[in-house]
Symmetry: C2
Subunit: 154 residues, 2 copies
DNA sequence: AGTGCCGGTCTCAAAAAGAGACCAGCACTA
DNA sequence: TAGTGCTGGTCTCTTTTTGAGACCGGCACT
């Protein structure tokens, strides 16, 4: 496997040709998505394709853990106690398939498996981290909104 | 309803007390999450709580549309052709409940309903937008990884 | 009088997620 | 030597979430 230096494009670090860092021409963007998808549905939409991977119930949490350091299967299971073994396996598999996570088996006596972020994974986590930070900072506002909404419905 | 100036905290715009913009002490953070959740599960985890809202299949797409301008129900349905009416209703309801989206009914003859982003919604979209941009820029890398992985499995 | 648009809700089928039993192989202990 | 535990899974069953599509009332227009 060629090593291929990490050349993933980080948002905001350089000039981006057609895609602005501001919400410019978002309408056009949506229409372009619709156009490239053959007029039918949005199945080819890059956003959807990538966001889907992160949007799993556990993906972001696992990405967050692995961003800190590599973890073994059992460690992850203990770290996130309410994930089922089945979903842990499957989420890690999906993350691996999308190129975010590297899986390595060590021939120890009970063979251990280590999961770590690839360069692509780290790059993606950079963007995801923004959302995580926002979530931490504004969690209260969201909970407040939710409580207010529920009260109004009652 | 009080107007209450938008004072949501934008990531990276100011000094943040305990939360750094770098991936510092992520391990500590995870442990803190685990601690505050009573040692049991992560149900109180702010990240999980907020990410869940965005992680729906349609949430990010709708946020993206509404970030551009307000849309009416039927417009959204036409914009995202492969969403079922049921899921459109429900996703918008959830976004509204979390305080991201404002719903306004206009007493036109066939009464029309307009959905728009609240200040909180715009604030959140700012963070989400980073991820969207990343997705656009690195979509090819992900698709490549996926293709390579699938080929290796076969 | 018939047809269509508007923003939904309701029902039923399919897909995804959660819970938990089960597995093989080796090390350590009794 | 038999029993126990740890490793990282898979398999099956149940519950929850999603998707597809029929149905609704009310008004405008033809």
């Amino acid at each position: 496997m060629a090593v291929k230096k990490a050349v993933f494009r980080e948002v905001g670090t350089a000039r981006e040709p057609a895609v602005d860092s501001k919400i410019v021409n978002l309408r056009t963007k949506m229409e372009v998505y619709k156009a490239i998808s053959g007029g039918g549905n949005f199945s080819n939409c890059p956003v959807r394709d990538v966001i889907q991977g992160v949007s799993g119930k556990w993906s972001s949490l696992l990405m967050m853990a692995l961003a800190e350091r590599p973890y073994r299967f059992g460690e992850l299971r203990r770290l996130v106690p309410d994930i089922s073994q089945r979903m842990l396996t499957q989420t890690l598999y999906d993350l691996q398939r999308d190129g975010y996570v590297h899986r390595e088996v060590f021939p120890t006596k009970p063979p251990s498996v280590e999961y770590s972020l690839t360069d692509l994974g780290h790059s993606m986590f950079g963007a995801l981290h923004q959302l995580i930070l926002w979530a931490e900072l504004n969690h209260d506002a969201v909970r407040e909104a939710r409580a207010g909404f529920d009260a109004a419905q009652a």
